[in-house]
Amino acid sequence: MSTISYFLSRLLQIIPTFLIVMVIIFLLVRALPGDPAIAMADAKATAEQLEQIRQRLGLDQPLWVQFGIFVKNVFTGNLGDSILLKAPVTQVIIERLPASGFLTLYAVLFSLLIAGPLAFVAALNRNSWVDTSIRSIFQVGLSTPVFYIGLLLLTFLAARMRWFPVGGYGTTFLEHMYHLLLPALTVALYTSAIIMRNLRSSVIEVVDAEYVQFARAKGLPERIVLGRHVLRNALISTVTLLGLSIGNLMSGTLVTETVFAVPGVGRLMLDAIFARDYPLIQGLTLTFAVLVSIIFLLTDMIQAWLDPRLRVA
């Protein structure tokens, strides 16, 4: 009950966020130098013709009316046409989104699979050689640029050994898994290093907590002490970190998508920026803002599920 009302109140909080994002994007585009009407008309256009174009684009209206139209367009999914791709921005983004989503989730999954068990092993053997070696290896992962790891994997495993494709996305689910394995691993090597460090220190913090001692004093099997009492408590801060680093993860995908030629929104963003494709940049920025908001919401929901003290609407 309280979980549902918490969810609803959290959902409502997104509305002002979206409004602010839309205002910023709207103003940014208006603040760009140059008159769109002049850009669209030919050089010999008269003042009257320019005025006509402005009327057609709605640029003669007051700013707040223009904003209203912009908001209405956003909600009806009309983000204008991409200059670069000569297609509606909405359609382009929808086409490219699945590859990026797949890659991001794949990378998160990899990160958790790599970081989770190793963090536990390191924390439970803290300051032993096991701990030290696990931490050193991750330190390398953390301090190596993502694109470099990507290039190394690409050169050796894809180009030389030919175990993996050098790029693309494939068409079926299994093909996606195969094509995106190296890109996901590339992103995950970095993310898992962050998660590992965080989870290791929270496990160390939790493992000597009084309630863990008390759980042991109950005579519970170690499996339950660690799984039910330690892991769950340690995960809270890691979930926060994972949610917050999703921006980091997205920029990681941006680079990775470029290195591995994955047809995703990250690479699209890069192309759009280089081509000064304003409608596309605007659409993508909006999309990223929406995605980040949803991920933050999701993070909060997972936290509330983990920690009953947070379920306060």
């Binding site: 001692q213 008390f214 005579g219 519970l220 408590n233 009953p308």
Partner: protein, 331 residues
Amino acid sequence: MTQSNSPLLSVKNLSTSFHVGGQKLRAVDEVSFDLATGEVLGIVGESGSGKSITLRSIMGLARRYGEVTGEVVWQGENLVTKPEAQMRKIRGKDIAMIFQEPMSSLNPLLTVGVQIKENLVAHTELDKKARHHRAIELLELVGIPDASRRLNDYPHQFSGGMRQRVMIAIALASSPKLLLADEPTTALDVTIQNQILKLILDLSQELGMSVILVTHDLGVAAQTCDRLAVMYGGKLVEKGSTRDVLCNPLHRYTMGLLQSVPENVEPRTPLFSLPGTPPSLMNLPKGCAFAPRCAHAVEACATTKPPLEGTEHQVACFNPTQAPDGAGGQS
């Protein structure tokens, strides 16, 4: 109250040490005592005297962090050397423990019901439904109103006193024969303190359960315990019936502790306090740990650790307030 001859628990020369930064820290030093069925034994002393570690060593919780030697004889077996898997069957079942901080000793993420029931899962054959009933019964036993509804509440929805009751309910889940209570009332208001102490005593009588109560509060010890053991610097320095120890203290430290309790004094009278501070366990004096603070120390105190002497009322002191019974005190 059966087999009153052989003690329920017999602790012999129990020592626990930890390695801290290359140094060996001896938190519990050759502690010995017996506990009869149904008896309430108090261990009193200042913070850092090794009281809690003694309890955790009996429970087998200390050995994960340090080195435990000596014997803890329970039903003919030495718990100190018992393998972890077997120890787990005793822990929480025959010997239960409650902790000092009811705020931090319950898992904040799990409902109280889950935390009671997991004990029942580990130690009883009850099915899901029976466990649920038993959990309600336990909460009622420790005086939590509206028990069946509160089972689904989380620890943060309980007050401090109620959390301590929950902890007691968890400890009692599998009807233990011995309850180790580590400062169970220290974190609570005075009024709640009395309720909790009374609860522990009532339950001990009702269920025939022995209790070891660790406290730094002599008042608490006086109201609840049959016998007292005074601990200082990891050692037992005095041991005897509560009446003997409190009315007729033999050790200079016990004497000092009693003098620190204000009693029948005029307002604004300065409180008596023992001079000096408890010794660091990192470098205990060679002789008696209390000697540096003791106004009555003799030559031997600085060089030799005094042994615990006497029969019923024992003391470890070269210059006690009076000679202990049985043994002739060297003075």
